[in-house]
Symmetry: C2
Subunit: 135 residues, 2 copies
DNA sequence: CTCTCAATAGTAATGATTACTGTTACTATT
DNA sequence: AATAGTAACAGTAATCATTACTATTGAGAG
């Protein structure tokens, strides 16, 4: 039940945070590794994993683990919705004014205590929509 | 965009389907492997993976890949909701009378075509609720 | 400045899943 | 019933994302 947290703001974490803030592509750990290595060539992939985990535990960034074997990360910590392209796996942001109504009182929760939910929309990204066979 | 489908109902698939129908525990592929091996000791783990994938592609069962590195499978193909225990990873069913309202017309879908959604509730299972430090 | 321990680089290990390869067995058609 | 075509199989190797380990470094409090 305990999650890793950020105790010290190192150069590695500062740069990861900066790079994540520049994009809206919700990169994977490996993609973040590539982005950060441009500025800090000696950084280790393990460090990227650990720091992404710690920073999402501290609420500085968001971890998207809704689907797929590969986790993705979002530099915007504010709650918002995501769409995942069923063809290529890309993830985009969704802007919504009205709040989503989620039913939380169940007829039979089977003894579970329901505290939240995880969700993502699915669909097709602009590219795959244009040419579904491209990928 | 193409998914594997069931063309032939083999003994392996029949038994996997039977065993999945007996439980409500949403077992992982490995757990299904253990359940099926009691009745068919020579079955291969690869076959279990392939058959679970094919049968979920054909709508005979449900594949739960909403979260976690390990997929889980549900013998009940009818749409219903799930809760995942944040402490131990167990997954349970949720019964709801009223339908969930999901907003699908977004102010800015960013060029995406939204066709559906994936969601699961999160919380604590009866055991972990009783003793959060047990696991 | 110094001390402490969180964080790091580099690498090995893990674990779930997928791919491959030669063989088996459904199903339809002679 | 024999044959052909091919989906599915068992067994095993390979892949890929992630986590763990170990010795070393450096952030930041006092």
């Amino acid at each position: 039940m305990s999650r890793p947290e950020v105790k010290r703001m190192t150069q590695q974490r500062r740069i990861i945070l900066e790079e994540l803030g520049k994009v809206t592509s919700h990169p994977t750990a490996d993609e973040v590794y590539g982005m950060v290595r441009v500025h800090l060539p000696s950084i280790s992939l393990g460090t990227v994993y650990r720091d992404l985990e710690a920073m999402s535990g501290s609420g500085l960034i968001q971890k998207l683990e809704t689907c797929g074997r590969q986790k993705r990360f979002d530099g915007n910590p504010a709650p918002h919705h995501h769409v995942r392209c069923l063809a290529c796996g890309r993830v985009g942001d969704l802007q919504t004014d009205t709040e989503l109504y989620i039913k939380a009182d169940f007829d039979d929760p089977g003894g579970y205590k329901v505290t939240g939910y995880r969700m993502e929309y699915t669909g097709l990204c602009p590219d795959c929509r244009r040419d579904p066979l491209a990928i």
